[in-house]
Amino acid sequence: MFDLALSEAGAQIILATSSDDKYPPENMIDGKDDTFWTTCGLYPQEFIIKFTSLVSINTIQISCYNVKKLKMEVSSDDNQAFKTLAEKELQPSDSAPQSEEISGRNVKAMNLRVVIESGYDHFCAVYKICVHGNAERS
Protein backbone atom coordinates (compact mmCIF):
# COMPACT_ATOMS: atom_id res chain seq x y z
CA MET A 1 0.00 0.00 0.00
CA PHE A 2 1.07 3.55 -0.72
CA ASP A 3 0.32 7.01 0.52
CA LEU A 4 -1.69 8.16 -2.46
CA ALA A 5 -2.08 11.73 -1.19
CA LEU A 6 1.46 12.85 -1.84
CA SER A 7 2.34 15.64 -4.21
CA GLU A 8 5.46 13.66 -5.09
CA ALA A 9 3.21 10.88 -6.30
CA GLY A 10 1.23 13.31 -8.42
CA ALA A 11 -1.69 14.03 -6.10
CA GLN A 12 -3.00 17.57 -6.32
CA ILE A 13 -5.09 19.92 -4.24
CA ILE A 14 -7.57 21.20 -6.79
CA LEU A 15 -9.61 23.34 -4.42
CA ALA A 16 -9.17 24.87 -0.99
CA THR A 17 -11.44 27.46 0.58
CA SER A 18 -8.65 29.29 2.40
CA SER A 19 -5.30 30.36 1.22
CA ASP A 20 -2.60 32.17 3.08
CA ASP A 21 0.47 31.89 0.88
CA LYS A 22 2.62 31.25 3.89
CA TYR A 23 0.56 28.17 4.81
CA PRO A 24 -0.81 26.85 1.51
CA PRO A 25 -2.98 23.73 1.14
CA GLU A 26 -0.12 21.89 -0.60
CA ASN A 27 1.50 21.69 2.83
CA MET A 28 -0.94 18.90 3.68
CA ILE A 29 0.40 16.58 0.98
CA ASP A 30 4.10 17.45 0.96
CA GLY A 31 4.98 14.42 3.09
CA LYS A 32 6.22 16.60 5.95
CA ASP A 33 4.81 16.59 9.46
CA ASP A 34 5.86 20.11 10.33
CA THR A 35 4.15 22.10 7.59
CA PHE A 36 0.44 22.88 7.60
CA TRP A 37 -2.50 24.54 5.92
CA THR A 38 -4.43 27.14 7.89
CA THR A 39 -8.07 28.00 7.47
CA CYS A 40 -8.54 31.75 7.36
CA GLY A 41 -11.86 32.14 9.16
CA LEU A 42 -15.52 31.11 8.74
CA TYR A 43 -17.05 27.65 8.39
CA PRO A 44 -17.43 25.38 6.55
CA GLN A 45 -13.94 25.01 5.06
CA GLU A 46 -12.97 22.39 2.55
CA PHE A 47 -10.32 21.05 0.22
CA ILE A 48 -10.32 18.49 -2.58
CA ILE A 49 -7.47 16.12 -3.37
CA LYS A 50 -7.29 14.69 -6.84
CA PHE A 51 -5.39 11.43 -7.25
CA THR A 52 -3.40 10.57 -10.36
CA SER A 53 -5.82 7.80 -11.22
CA LEU A 54 -8.74 5.89 -9.80
CA VAL A 55 -7.70 4.48 -6.44
CA SER A 56 -9.08 2.19 -3.81
CA ILE A 57 -8.88 3.73 -0.32
CA ASN A 58 -8.01 1.61 2.67
CA THR A 59 -7.51 4.18 5.42
CA ILE A 60 -7.24 7.92 5.72
CA GLN A 61 -5.14 9.54 8.42
CA ILE A 62 -5.46 13.18 9.20
CA SER A 63 -3.43 15.28 11.57
CA CYS A 64 -5.03 18.61 12.38
CA TYR A 65 -5.86 21.12 15.09
CA ASN A 66 -9.07 22.84 16.29
CA VAL A 67 -11.23 20.70 14.01
CA LYS A 68 -14.63 19.68 15.38
CA LYS A 69 -16.97 18.29 12.73
CA LEU A 70 -15.27 16.63 9.84
CA LYS A 71 -16.79 15.10 6.73
CA MET A 72 -15.08 13.09 3.99
CA GLU A 73 -16.58 12.51 0.59
CA VAL A 74 -15.37 10.78 -2.54
CA SER A 75 -16.19 10.84 -6.22
CA SER A 76 -15.07 8.19 -8.68
CA ASP A 77 -14.59 10.58 -11.58
CA ASP A 78 -14.83 14.28 -12.26
CA ASN A 79 -18.40 14.06 -13.53
CA GLN A 80 -19.73 12.13 -10.56
CA ALA A 81 -21.32 13.74 -7.54
CA PHE A 82 -19.51 13.33 -4.21
CA LYS A 83 -20.73 10.61 -1.86
CA THR A 84 -20.21 10.71 1.88
CA LEU A 85 -17.56 8.31 3.13
CA ALA A 86 -17.41 9.30 6.79
CA GLU A 87 -18.58 11.92 9.25
CA LYS A 88 -16.79 12.40 12.53
CA GLU A 89 -16.77 14.66 15.52
CA LEU A 90 -13.20 15.03 16.74
CA GLN A 91 -12.25 15.51 20.37
CA PRO A 92 -10.60 18.79 21.29
CA SER A 93 -6.92 18.69 21.99
CA ASP A 94 -4.90 21.20 23.98
CA SER A 95 -1.26 20.68 23.53
CA ALA A 96 -0.80 18.55 20.44
CA PRO A 97 -2.39 18.13 17.03
CA GLN A 98 -5.47 15.93 16.73
CA SER A 99 -4.95 12.67 14.95
CA GLU A 100 -7.76 10.70 13.39
CA GLU A 101 -7.94 7.55 11.33
CA ILE A 102 -10.87 6.86 9.06
CA SER A 103 -11.61 3.61 7.32
CA GLY A 104 -11.85 3.91 3.57
CA ARG A 105 -13.68 0.58 3.22
CA ASN A 106 -11.83 0.16 -0.07
CA VAL A 107 -14.03 2.72 -1.73
CA LYS A 108 -13.05 3.69 -5.29
CA ALA A 109 -12.13 7.32 -5.65
CA MET A 110 -10.61 9.80 -8.03
CA ASN A 111 -11.26 12.81 -5.79
CA LEU A 112 -11.41 13.13 -2.03
CA ARG A 113 -13.21 16.07 -0.51
CA VAL A 114 -12.59 16.95 3.12
CA VAL A 115 -15.05 19.35 4.77
CA ILE A 116 -14.41 20.99 8.12
CA GLU A 117 -17.94 21.84 9.13
CA SER A 118 -17.07 23.42 12.45
CA GLY A 119 -14.13 23.98 14.73
CA TYR A 120 -13.11 24.58 18.33
CA ASP A 121 -11.81 27.98 17.36
CA HIS A 122 -12.03 30.53 14.55
CA PHE A 123 -9.07 28.97 12.77
CA CYS A 124 -7.96 25.40 12.10
CA ALA A 125 -4.77 23.79 10.87
CA VAL A 126 -4.34 20.61 8.87
CA TYR A 127 -0.78 19.30 9.04
CA LYS A 128 -1.02 16.20 7.02
CA ILE A 129 -3.40 13.87 5.30
CA CYS A 130 -2.34 10.37 4.28
CA VAL A 131 -4.51 8.21 2.08
CA HIS A 132 -3.41 4.59 2.17
CA GLY A 133 -4.56 2.39 -0.65
CA ASN A 134 -3.81 1.14 -4.11
CA ALA A 135 -4.20 2.33 -7.63
CA GLU A 136 -7.04 0.56 -9.42
CA ARG A 137 -6.12 -1.30 -12.56
CA SER A 138 -7.95 0.27 -15.44
Binding site: S19, Y23, F36, T38, C40, G41, Y65, N66, A125
Partner: protein, 188 residues
Protein backbone atom coordinates in the same frame (compact mmCIF):
# COMPACT_ATOMS: atom_id res chain seq x y z
CA UNK B 1 -0.46 36.69 -2.82
CA UNK B 2 -1.34 38.27 0.50
CA UNK B 3 -3.64 36.43 2.88
CA UNK B 4 -7.36 37.08 3.03
CA UNK B 5 -8.76 36.43 6.49
CA UNK B 6 -12.54 36.18 6.71
CA UNK B 7 -14.69 37.36 9.58
CA UNK B 8 -18.37 37.16 10.30
CA UNK B 9 -19.42 40.35 12.02
CA UNK B 10 -22.80 40.31 13.74
CA UNK B 11 -24.31 43.79 14.22
CA UNK B 12 -27.07 43.98 16.83
CA UNK B 13 -29.01 46.43 19.00
CA UNK B 14 -32.55 47.73 19.42
CA UNK B 15 -34.64 48.91 16.48
CA UNK B 16 -33.86 52.41 15.27
CA UNK B 17 -30.49 52.85 16.99
CA UNK B 18 -28.71 53.25 13.64
CA UNK B 19 -27.23 49.82 12.87
CA UNK B 20 -28.13 49.97 9.19
CA UNK B 21 -26.93 53.56 8.94
CA UNK B 22 -23.55 52.58 10.45
CA UNK B 23 -23.17 49.49 8.25
CA UNK B 24 -24.15 51.30 5.09
CA UNK B 25 -21.82 54.19 5.80
CA UNK B 26 -18.94 51.85 6.48
CA UNK B 27 -19.49 49.67 3.41
CA UNK B 28 -20.05 52.65 1.11
CA UNK B 29 -16.92 54.46 2.36
CA UNK B 30 -19.01 57.22 3.85
CA UNK B 31 -21.05 58.00 0.78
CA UNK B 32 -24.40 56.71 1.95
CA UNK B 33 -26.27 57.81 5.08
CA UNK B 34 -29.91 56.67 5.04
CA UNK B 35 -31.82 59.69 6.38
CA UNK B 36 -35.19 58.03 6.44
CA UNK B 37 -35.75 55.08 8.67
CA UNK B 38 -36.38 51.81 6.85
CA UNK B 39 -36.63 49.09 9.40
CA UNK B 40 -34.54 46.02 8.66
CA UNK B 41 -36.53 42.82 8.32
CA UNK B 42 -34.44 39.78 9.12
CA UNK B 43 -30.80 40.40 8.35
CA UNK B 44 -29.02 42.34 5.67
CA UNK B 45 -25.75 41.00 4.48
CA UNK B 46 -22.79 42.99 3.16
CA UNK B 47 -19.07 42.57 2.65
CA UNK B 48 -16.23 45.00 3.13
CA UNK B 49 -12.51 44.30 2.87
CA UNK B 50 -10.23 46.00 5.39
CA UNK B 51 -6.52 46.15 4.68
CA UNK B 52 -4.47 45.64 7.83
CA UNK B 53 -1.95 48.49 8.26
CA UNK B 54 1.72 47.61 7.73
CA UNK B 55 0.82 44.31 6.06
CA UNK B 56 -0.51 43.28 2.68
CA UNK B 57 -3.16 41.14 4.29
CA UNK B 58 -6.86 41.83 4.27
CA UNK B 59 -9.65 41.02 6.67
CA UNK B 60 -12.85 40.55 4.72
CA UNK B 61 -15.76 41.52 6.93
CA UNK B 62 -18.98 39.64 6.24
CA UNK B 63 -21.48 41.80 8.03
CA UNK B 64 -24.89 40.71 9.24
CA UNK B 65 -26.89 43.84 9.93
CA UNK B 66 -29.64 42.32 12.06
CA UNK B 67 -33.16 43.58 12.65
CA UNK B 68 -33.68 45.13 16.08
CA UNK B 69 -37.45 44.54 16.20
CA UNK B 70 -38.16 41.61 18.51
CA UNK B 71 -40.53 39.86 16.12
CA UNK B 72 -37.59 39.16 13.79
CA UNK B 73 -35.23 37.84 16.46
CA UNK B 74 -35.82 34.11 16.05
CA UNK B 75 -35.37 34.47 12.33
CA UNK B 76 -32.18 36.57 12.45
CA UNK B 77 -30.50 34.36 15.01
CA UNK B 78 -30.45 31.63 12.37
CA UNK B 79 -27.82 33.67 10.51
CA UNK B 80 -25.51 33.97 13.48
CA UNK B 81 -23.76 30.59 13.64
CA UNK B 82 -19.96 30.77 13.96
CA UNK B 83 -19.67 34.48 14.74
CA UNK B 84 -16.18 35.97 14.50
CA UNK B 85 -16.95 39.32 16.10
CA UNK B 86 -19.87 41.49 17.15
CA UNK B 87 -20.91 45.12 17.21
CA UNK B 88 -23.58 46.13 19.69
CA UNK B 89 -25.12 49.52 19.00
CA UNK B 90 -27.27 51.76 21.18
CA UNK B 91 -28.72 55.23 20.78
CA UNK B 92 -27.43 57.72 23.37
CA UNK B 93 -30.87 59.37 23.47
CA UNK B 94 -32.59 56.13 24.45
CA UNK B 95 -32.15 54.58 27.86
CA UNK B 96 -34.12 51.51 26.70
CA UNK B 97 -31.73 50.82 23.85
CA UNK B 98 -28.84 51.03 26.30
CA UNK B 99 -30.39 48.58 28.78
CA UNK B 100 -31.07 46.14 25.94
CA UNK B 101 -27.38 45.79 25.10
CA UNK B 102 -26.67 43.03 27.60
CA UNK B 103 -29.53 40.98 26.19
CA UNK B 104 -28.11 41.34 22.68
CA UNK B 105 -24.60 40.44 23.82
CA UNK B 106 -25.93 37.31 25.52
CA UNK B 107 -27.78 36.26 22.41
CA UNK B 108 -24.75 36.54 20.17
CA UNK B 109 -22.41 34.88 22.67
CA UNK B 110 -24.81 31.97 23.14
CA UNK B 111 -23.99 31.02 19.54
CA UNK B 112 -20.43 30.13 20.37
CA UNK B 113 -20.12 29.92 24.14
CA UNK B 114 -16.70 28.22 24.15
CA UNK B 115 -14.92 30.45 21.69
CA UNK B 116 -14.12 34.00 22.71
CA UNK B 117 -14.45 36.63 20.01
CA UNK B 118 -13.83 40.36 19.92
CA UNK B 119 -16.65 42.86 20.14
CA UNK B 120 -17.37 46.58 20.22
CA UNK B 121 -20.02 48.54 22.07
CA UNK B 122 -21.01 51.53 19.96
CA UNK B 123 -22.82 54.60 21.32
CA UNK B 124 -24.46 56.18 18.29
CA UNK B 125 -26.21 59.52 17.59
CA UNK B 126 -23.81 61.62 19.65
CA UNK B 127 -24.74 64.53 17.34
CA UNK B 128 -28.00 64.83 19.34
CA UNK B 129 -26.20 66.46 22.26
CA UNK B 130 -29.29 68.15 23.72
CA UNK B 131 -31.20 64.91 23.91
CA UNK B 132 -28.40 62.71 25.12
CA UNK B 133 -29.37 60.64 28.17
CA UNK B 134 -26.70 57.94 28.29
CA UNK B 135 -23.30 59.41 29.04
CA UNK B 136 -19.83 58.09 28.26
CA UNK B 137 -19.29 56.89 31.82
CA UNK B 138 -22.23 54.46 31.76
CA UNK B 139 -21.20 53.29 28.31
CA UNK B 140 -17.61 52.63 29.32
CA UNK B 141 -18.74 50.78 32.44
CA UNK B 142 -20.98 48.48 30.47
CA UNK B 143 -18.22 47.85 27.95
CA UNK B 144 -15.82 46.99 30.75
CA UNK B 145 -18.33 44.69 32.40
CA UNK B 146 -19.13 42.83 29.19
CA UNK B 147 -15.61 42.67 27.82
CA UNK B 148 -16.21 44.87 24.81
CA UNK B 149 -14.40 47.95 23.57
CA UNK B 150 -16.26 51.24 23.82
CA UNK B 151 -16.76 53.65 20.91
CA UNK B 152 -18.87 56.74 20.33
CA UNK B 153 -20.00 57.79 16.90
CA UNK B 154 -22.49 59.71 14.84
CA UNK B 155 -23.56 58.10 11.62
CA UNK B 156 -25.35 61.31 10.70
CA UNK B 157 -22.21 63.44 11.02
CA UNK B 158 -20.10 60.59 9.62
CA UNK B 159 -18.00 60.82 12.70
CA UNK B 160 -15.95 57.89 13.98
CA UNK B 161 -18.11 55.27 12.26
CA UNK B 162 -15.25 53.24 10.79
CA UNK B 163 -13.15 53.06 13.96
CA UNK B 164 -14.88 50.11 15.67
CA UNK B 165 -14.75 48.10 12.45
CA UNK B 166 -11.03 48.75 11.99
CA UNK B 167 -10.41 47.89 15.60
CA UNK B 168 -12.25 44.57 15.29
CA UNK B 169 -10.54 43.71 12.01
CA UNK B 170 -7.14 44.21 13.58
CA UNK B 171 -8.07 42.29 16.75
CA UNK B 172 -9.23 39.39 14.62
CA UNK B 173 -6.09 39.53 12.53
CA UNK B 174 -4.05 39.35 15.73
CA UNK B 175 -6.03 36.28 16.79
CA UNK B 176 -5.19 34.66 13.49
CA UNK B 177 -1.50 35.35 13.93
CA UNK B 178 -1.55 34.01 17.47
CA UNK B 179 -3.18 30.80 16.30
CA UNK B 180 -0.67 30.35 13.51
CA UNK B 181 2.14 30.70 16.03
CA UNK B 182 0.47 28.02 18.13
CA UNK B 183 0.09 25.72 15.11
CA UNK B 184 3.81 26.17 14.44
CA UNK B 185 4.80 25.56 18.04
CA UNK B 186 3.33 22.05 18.00
CA UNK B 187 5.67 20.88 15.31
CA UNK B 188 8.71 23.03 15.96
Amino acid sequence: MPAVIRAKCIVVGDAGVGKSAICQLFTSDGSHFPKNYTLTMGAEFMVKPVVIPDTQDTVEMYMYDSAGKEIFTDMVMKFWDHPSMMIVVYDVTSETSFSSCEKWIERVRSQKPDVPFPGALVANKIDLEQRRIVGPKAGKELAMKTGLDYYECSAKEMQNVDTPFYFLASEYYKLYQEKVELFKAFVA
